[in-house]
Symmetry: C2
Subunit: 340 residues, 2 copies
């Protein structure tokens, strides 16, 4: 039974024999077989076609040996579901139609959410079939603040200056936008659970770009709403990259586990959240650029810092595209050969 | 007398009537008169020519009303002094000749440091003349780790993956490189003080990209050496962007003040460093993209968080190029009209 899987037992707070391991962006980018599919099919074909979603999501389970699969998709599907055009441009990343004016924000609609995500059920069912209960499946969504970053900026950014300018100059309009993203996100997460996801992760990838004060106003309340609406259904991992200053508040949302970036020491998180909170992370993804032997040593040292149990091994952010498969495997093997 | 200036009295730990204010990258980028000079002269002409250095360094004192000037230069002059070619490429930022192999690192020489920086004395003397004791002059350098980032990566980067790969795969070679940068930096800081700089700031701009463990190994020891070699001469502000986890160690280097990024709450820094440590910062530079009225409110609120005194108002990172002069002025005015 999948409930007895190491990953879900850890999320339930059980003391396990070793930490489970998976990593963000494990399906994609650095895998040669994924790159072949990327050449043949568009990003959204790969997400929406059940056969492709299955093949890509299952790939790191077969090839790298991770203890959990994460649905192949992108946080920007929520922007699409709200009616915005999203393109993945080679060498540049996502390019989005923006919503900044009152009229543009008003026009965004949550009504089409169910209809937009009708691809998700067959895709997730196909993935579950491909996994055949070997490992659990994680569904996911971005945080409303992180989605707003892209919807206002229109693309990735070092500082998301346009997004910040928007929330400061137009806080009411920003909150309307965050409300709409929140509603669509709750619907989408429920669709993923209905279709068979065993756990969820919320990515507040750009949370740590906000000051603590702005975080409390523009990110946290929306995470709290999403958590309240979904936390009874499956365990949820909340990952707010860089938002170390909000760990206590994030814990209080009822997350089953908190993701840490590599600049947040395990000892600090244990002090703030207590010894019973399950923590996930937190190797610097850049370390996976090093030789496999160095990766193995660094990973073991990182696991040591979390103490005995209540820990899911992961990176502190998505795996870098230039990572070698051997180094990714060394990371996973270090966790799998660890014994408490 | 310049020693009686608000900025230096604050750095000396005195209780002052209001916080002094200056901001990182205040000379350049967002100033229309600077942009005109940028069109006419190369970056290194602007740094090395005494008349241009004076005009640019003094500009924000005259036009924005800051309480301290910072020498117009760039942290990459240290890479040049070691023998590497550095270009500032329009729209792309700095592009450097790299040093990665053992032979390339061996070839870097600190012997030419005095000779390379012979432009600095006349430039600083001209700046001091232009300032005419109205405000103190801050000299600066990058941290050895931050310099290594550029010297290994060859350009700016979101993650400095090549630099991290280098220090993990080749720690001994990395330490040799850090040693050389440290030696050149100490010489250069002494040249700046000899020429008349009243204070110094060390920019560990990419310190916060390292895990606490790697920070202790690859950044902190070199900062400690630089501080020990120069702290008796003038007060030094140590700014390690994002390295909140090392605040205690940074304080113990003997810095006169610690710079904070905007994600490090004043209350946290006060708790770690005690009420007597002078703190500098920490408004999110993106807030200066907002309307002047919003900037003024946010700045005043930020100052409130630092309590009464022991505070230098600054941003949490360099001012963004798209900042309006009016918003920069609103930031400075908020500090200048504040009363404890």
């Amino acid at each position: 039974m999948i409930e007895q899987h190491l990953f879900l037992r850890t999320l339930a707070g059980e003391q396990t024999e070793r930490p489970p391991v998976w990593f963000m962006r494990q399906a994609g980018r650095y895998l040669p077989d994924y790159m072949k599919l990327k050449e043949k099919y568009s990003f959204f074909e790969r997400v929406q076609n059940p056969d492709l979603a299955r093949e890509i999501t299952v790939m790191p389970v077969d090839q790298i040996g991770v203890d959990a699969a994460i649905l192949f998709s992108d946080i920007l599907v929520i922007a699409q579901s709200l009616g915005l055009k999203v393109d993945m441009v080679q060498g540049r990343g996502p390019v989005l139609e923006t919503a900044r004016t009152q009229a543009e924000v008003d026009r965004l609609s949550v009504e089409a959410t169910q209809d937009f995500f009708k691809y998700a059920n067959p895709a997730i069912k196909a993935v579950k079939e491909g996994l055949d209960n070997r490992v659990p499946l994680i569904g996911f969504a971005g945080s409303p603040w992180t989605l707003l970053c892209y919807i206002v900026q229109g693309q990735g950014s070092k500082d998301f200056g346009e997004a910040k300018k928007f929330i400061i100059n137009e806080p009411l309009r920003a909150k309307l936008l965050l409300e709409k993203i929140t509603e669509a996100t709750i619907e989408y997460l429920n669709i993923q659970v209905d279709a068979g996801c065993d756990a969820l992760q919320i990515f507040d990838s750009w949370g740590g770009m906000l000051s603590p004060e702005m975080y409390s106003e523009f990110s946290l309340p929306y995470l709290q709403r999403i958590m309240a609406a979904t936390r009874e259904r499956v365990p949820i991992i909340l990952f707010a990259k860089g938002a170390w200053y909000a760990l206590k508040e994030l814990q209080e949302t009822g997350a089953a586990a908190l993701g840490l970036s590599w600049t947040t020491p395990a000892s600090f998180a244990r002090k703030i959240c207590g010894p019973e909170t399950v923590l996930q992370g937190n190797l610097d993804p850049s370390i996976l650029l090093a030789k496999p032997a160095a990766v193995k040593i660094a990973t073991t040292k990182m696991i040591d810092q979390f103490g005995r149990g209540k820990h899911i091994v992961n990176l502190g952010h998505g795996v870098l595209p230039q990572t070698s498969v051997d180094s990714a495997r060394a990371f996973v093997d270090a966790a799998k050969s660890y014994r408490y």
